[in-house]
């Protein structure tokens, strides 16, 4: 681990991982992230897999970096540094000025469904980051209440990189969209990302292994009201009212 040993105190960790975690925050602020509007994220709380509406999925995408002389630390450093460049075409990730570091907020724009006319504006909190992994957590309004961990490790003679998501669609509309193609699109998104990363470090023909498991088939009906924060509906409204806002000079 990256943190140096610290003196043990009663009921305190032997090694300090405090610098790897985001500081406690009640409401997120994405002000200052260049390139995108922050109003879909600023003022929102984080929302993890426990706060979502739909079924809970665990998705693990791994790729072996065969034939490449690298280390987990080097791959993670590259991944953090060039994160947006590994995303598939059409999706945008706006890195925070300080890069991917604990407590930073990034903004993103994605297609909520294949071919959807609306682009979803939302973001992520960097929940955790060390030399061998980093984790994002979604804000209220994101289509998925989730966290996703990107990591790398040695296995035998090689290095393996992994993206593992724990995710629930946030509200009933998101659950429906997930069932209508959002789930498969999400899988293809991360498979493509993993291939792009492996290619960038020199793997000639990367093979992505995907393990998709529904670990809770129940829907959490007490969270149906998450719809009030829906970034999808907000983005749709923004798209529909765009001509009016342009005409009235408010857009």
């Amino acid at each position: 681990m990256s943190a140096p040993p610290t003196e043990q105190r009663s009921n305190e960790p032997v090694r300090s991982d405090a610098d790897n975690w985001a500081r406690p925050v009640d409401r997120l602020s994405a002000a200052g992230v260049p390139g995108a509007k922050d109003d879909a994220v600023t003022g929102k709380r984080v929302s993890g897999p426990l706060q979502g509406f739909g079924q809970l999925w665990q998705k693990t995408f791994t790729v072996r970096l065969d034939g490449v002389d690298t280390t987990p630390e080097a791959v993670i450093a590259l991944w953090k540094d060039r994160f947006p460049t590994f995303w598939p075409k059409g999706a945008r990730f706006y890195s925070p000025l300080s890069g991917i570091a604990p407590g930073e907020v990034a903004l993103l724009e994605i297609e909520p469904l294949p071919g959807a006319p609306v682009r979803l504006s939302t973001g992520v909190l960097v929940l955790y980051a060390d030399d061998e992994s980093f984790t994002f957590m979604t804000p209220e309004g994101h289509t998925l209440s989730a966290w996703i961990t990107f990591s790398a490790r040695r296995e035998g003679e090689g290095t393996i990189v992994e993206a593992q998501a724990l995710e629930r669609p946030s509200d009933p509309f998101d659950e429906l969209a997930y069932k209508l193609g959002g789930n498969g699109q999400n899988n293809r998104f991360w498979q493509s990302t993993m291939r792009n990363l492996a290619t960038a470090v020199g793997v000639a023909e990367p093979v992505v292994d995907s393990q998709i498991v529904c670990i809770d088939k129940n829907r959490q009906w007490r969270y149906w009201r998450n719809v009030r924060n829906s970034a999808t509906l907000r983005s749709a409204r923004r798209t529909l009212t765009s001509p009016v806002r342009r005409l009235t000079g408010r857009g």
């Binding site: 681990m1 009921n11 305190e12 960790p13 032997v14 090694r15 991982d17 405090a18 790897n20 975690w21 985001a22 500081r23 406690p24 925050v25 709380r45 984080v46 929302s47 993890g48 897999p49 426990l50 706060q51 809970l56 665990q58 929940l127 955790y128 060390d130 992994s133 984790t135 957590m137 966290w147 961990t149 990591s151 593992q164 724990l166 670990i215 809770d216 129940n218």
Partner: protein, 115 residues
């Protein structure tokens, strides 16, 4: 990195899992096996005592979520005790504290789990 050591104990109706060392995604087999034993012993409420926890990364928090889901599916519940201030803050940050009751010490957690 320290190995995860989990001591299983029974106190009335509650099972206690005393966790020592690190909790990361690599701890999954040990934690799930210990939980499985607790359930096999008839426990519906399980206390996770973190007094001797040394280190937990985001993979460890993810593991606690999957354990919680497993417990909820079986109609059980989890209560946490012995969390340092740092890890209490992590539970709050990740909103895990909304689903896992947190008590200061093991005795209070056992009382809550048995109630």
């Amino acid at each position: 990195m320290s190995a995860t050591v989990i001591e299983l104990d029974q106190e009335g109706e509650a099972s206690i899992l005393r966790i020592e060392g690190d909790i990361t995604s690599a701890s999954e087999p040990d934690l799930m096996a210990a939980y499985g034993l607790a359930v096999a012993n008839g426990a519906t409420a399980v206390v996770l005592d973190f007094t001797r926890l040394e280190y937990m990364n985001s993979g460890g928090i993810g593991l606690l979520v999957t354990l919680l889901v497993r417990a909820q599916r079986a109609g059980g519940r989890l209560v946490a005790s012995g969390l340092s201030e740092h890890y209490r803050q992590i539970f709050e940050l990740t909103r895990l504290d909304e689903a896992i009751e947190i008590k200061d010490d093991e005795a209070a957690a056992v009382a809550a789990a048995s109630g």
